[in-house]
Amino acid sequence: MLRPFKLHEPTSVDDAVSLLGRFGEEAKVYCGGTELLLAMKEGLLRYNHLVNIKTIPGLDEVGYDQGSGMLSIGATVTHTALEHSPQIQSHFPMIAEAEGNVANVRVRNVGTIGGNLCFSEPHSDPGAFLLLFDTQVEIQGPGGQRTIPLAELTLGPFETCLEDDEVLTRILVPQFPQGMTGAYLKFGYHARPTLGVGVSVRVEPTTSDGEHIERAVVTEVRVAVGSAGPKAVRVAEAEQLLMGKTVAELLPGSNGGESSNMNEASRLAGRAADAMDDIHGSGEYKEHMIGVFLKRAFAKAVNTRQPTVQSPLS
């Protein structure tokens, strides 16, 4: 049961910030409520004042600047809106696909990207796949606005660097470098993901028809893992092992071979996730599965551009 609270509906971020400042610990931002209301129903969190930021004009907008390749997502944009945004579908297809797989349709219809990142629940998809881009977040507080890397927003489970009177207003996602493609894969039996692995990769030379892609060399690669541990992370050590290798060396599966670099990258990614034991499974199990999904996500990312290479695991 929800305890009574007073609802505030500001029409500007400044007003929201001053309400949060005025009521201090008694107040909290309320957006889709899919996380906050659950915690309040359980009595885990108690607030006498909720500040509804969905009444602030402009925060529900998605914008894409063709020139700079920058995607700007307002904090109150829902997962469903991201999934169906024509701009995201054409310029960030990986994000549209991943957003369509968040939670269930009812949570996607109401839950927002800002709420997802600010709640910092470890089992989060956007928290992981947005790390493949140099994603920044805009935060507004009493002293004005600051922009920080997404990686610095999340401190740990249910903990961010936001002050009580700060509001996350916008998420800024730069386009991949020319020629880079990405894939995000998640796995789990419960409502929330057990683990998620994202890979983005650029290979050279590129061929328009995908022929001879096995001989192409990885010139840039990013690996992000999430949901399994306390927070999503990029795995630089795994990225280094994949750099400079040919696609054939890393995905020798079609010849029945194994890639020692890919295997080692998988092991390091599993380790970097800092996987925890919980109802989703043991840490050891998740660590192993992250390695399995790293291979699949790499194959999918490569095949997204050049659909001729067979994944060793498909």
Binding site: L2, P4, L7, N104, N109
Partner: protein, 165 residues
């Protein structure tokens, strides 16, 4: 029951006007009232069910402006100015909705507890995608849990309704 409904000062209430199954409803609701309690306890519409109370099972699914939501965790005031559809609103002039008829014809329920939510979720799917394939149906419906049927007949009922048989 709505919490502290009688003790609350009116000043904290939020005036709302919405339509529920096409009927206009105007009221003042406390902010913490969930849409599920509003429908069941204030309006007497018992079709939406409470089960998990966590947005996992879908027994409480209703449509707000055509979108499926978990009414157990959706505040009633958020439905202001919206069109709310519950299972009670599907039959027209005593004639069952094609999805309702299809669930009967295909034996797509046993205890029936999940059925109002299943049918409303299926309606929101078919309203945006007239002929989904089985994979699309399963992906869309995965957030609605049924403990009885094993889902096969539910999928068949939705396919049949989409095909108009």
């Amino acid at each position: 029951m709505a919490i502290n409904e009688t003790q609350r000062p009116d000043i904290d209430r939020i005036p709302v006007s919405l339509t529920v199954n096409g009927r206009t409803v105007t009221d003042n609701v406390p902010p913490e009232l969930t849409l599920l309690d509003f429908l069941r306890d204030w309006l007497g519409l018992k079709g939406a069910k409470r089960s998990c109370d966590l947005q996992v099972c879908g027994a409480c699914t209703v449509l707000v402006n055509g979108r499926a939501v978990s009414s157990c965790t959706f505040l009633a005031f958020e439905a202001r100015n919206a069109e709310v559809t519950t299972i009670e609103g599907l039959a027209q002039n005593g004639e069952l909705h094609p999805l309702q008829q299809s669930f009967i014809d295909n034996a797509a329920f046993q205890c029936g507890f999940c059925t109002p939510g299943m049918i409303l979720a299926a309606k929101s799917l078919l309203d945006q995608n007239h002929h989904p394939n089985e994979e699309e149906i399963r992906a869309y419906m995965k957030g609605n849990i049924c403990r009885c049927t094993g889902y096969k007949k539910i999928v068949e009922a939705i396919v049949a309704a989409a095909n108009g048989d």
